[in-house]
Amino acid sequence: MALLEVRDLKTHFTTDDGVVKAVDGVSFSVEKGKTLAIVGESGSGKSVTCLTVMGLNPRRGVEISGEALFNGRDLIKLRGEELRKIRGDEMSMIFQDPMTSLNPVHTIGGQLREAVLVHEKVPKQQANARALEMLKAVGIPRAETRMDDYPHQFSGGMRQRVMIAMALINNPDLLIADEPTTALDVTTQAQIISLMTRLQRDFGSAIILITHDLGVVAETADEVMVMYAGRAVERADYKGLFYEPHHPYTWGLMDSMPTLSGEDTELTPIPGTPPSLLRPPEGCKFNPRCRFVMDICRTEEPELKEVPGSPAHLERCHLDEAVKQAEIERIATERLGAVS
């Protein structure tokens, strides 16, 4: 059985202007020890999905439905105290901006200890030892002295390492990382990613990695889910997504990646802007920005269906399979620089 099984998750926010359907029917699963990457732009609902799973949404003005089975228990039905016990212990989350994610008036050591002591009544020394151990594990030099330092005395990259340490200190089964490297420079990015993969091996946790960067996905993901306007538009394993992308949005993402060969003189972004979640477009939510838009796209929302021949690969698009195969060819040649 999967570690985490999410079915038809919906998170709607009631605002003064109306209902915002941030997540509108998302399903996925994560296997033990594996990495699922959730890709999409801002507003796609990728963060809210994970916040909902963790139970970190505000208490008022939110309606949640669906199922999120974690180790057999439905997190959606849990909420409250039960969920809190699981949070930080069996599953944990790190966030995008390390500069602001740590409390400035408590020491690093204190915040790490807190993560331990909240879930286990152990003597302070023991919590301290664990904290120290984790700091070393994430590669903080001179960890003993650094325990008593404050967040502002660490660089951005260091702080993200601390965050990772804090997230893994209780040996969670699942780590959710919401754009962990977006706020960091490229070199640090690489370090963090390699740290995470190493720790995943050592600790055996599953990872949900939220990102908009396909490069990061390529390095880390076992499974990938592409989200758009609160829904999944494509879901596949790593090979399936990169070598057989079946959705115009995915094609757009791949087209907008700069290549290493330096042949591009300009970047090709996806035209248009993210859709309003208050009054989303009729039919397929991507239709205003789609190069291949047809009449049917404007009136009927496509269902999520299996790609012929690959039952684990799902996509949501009205286009003919033939058209899709043509794009697959083009991308393989232009973007990936090779024939599969």
Binding site: M54, L56, R84, K85, I86, R87, G88, D89, S92, M93, I94, F95, D97, T100, S101, L102, N103, P104, V105, H106, T107, E114, A115, V118, H119, Y150, H152, Q153, M163, M166, A167
Partner: protein, 326 residues
Amino acid sequence: MIRYLIRRLLWAVVLFIAVTAVTYALFFIVPADPARIMAGKSASPAEVERVRKALGLDDPIYIQYAHFLKKLVIEGSLGTSYANRQEVNDIVKSAAPVTASLVFGGMIVWLLIAFPVGVYSALRPRSKTDRAAMVGVLIGISAHPVWIGLLLSYFFGYRWQVTPIQGYCEVFSPPPGQSQCAGFPIWQWAYHLILPWITIAVLYAAFYVRMIRSNTMETLNEDYVRTARAKGVKESTVLRSHVLRNAILPVVTMLGMDLALALGGAIFTEYVFGLPGLGKEAVDSIRRFDYPTTVGITVFATVVVITFNLLVDILYAYIDPRIRLS
């Protein structure tokens, strides 16, 4: 941290000199003639001149200022009152504890009101309690302390006889002749200050409720609060250790400034409730053209405010590690 402290100390000295010089200039800007006032209305011009000489009022300005500074710095004396020839030091010594009791006690009361109300409002925005609190805040800011004081004194003191109508009772060595203070001194002291504390607290509680509410709401949205929740920390601990611990930082700085304001506003409360404090003394001295007392009290109050702000800055530096360790 040391450099920070030294810098603050140096500024404190500069500020002190500036304020005393400007206040001292009062003597020469206001047209009233203290010699005339001291000598009495029936005194002949010759007698008025005699008084003027005796007070040193016929010396040039800079000489008078020099005498004043010398007395202040070397002898620690704030001067002698023109009105009743008392040492201003004595006037301040007897009035300062009264104002201190009023202002610090009032401060505690307003913080005790503002914290729970402000935090609760921040946690439950737009709830009935929050809206009621905001109305309360509006009233608190708009109502004049004299009006509040007189109302409280009339109803609680006179009509319902729950508290004294007015008056101040010393905590230590109460002077003889105050039969309304008979009883256990500390109790009588606090009992007589209940209404004054409430009066002073109303205005500041209103400000602080608003400030604490908005600070708390802001802090609640901070990323590190989300991190704490993600760690599985209990909500009450999140509130205490993560939210409030940060939200109070600006409050600490405001307290320093508000002490200065409260000292000034204390005048109204002191008048209504007959508290013989610095505010009342200062206003009385201004009306009587008793410059030494006015200047003396201003100097003293300046020192107090500067010192308190310095202490608040030190405290702030201590509790905010970002400043302590820079």
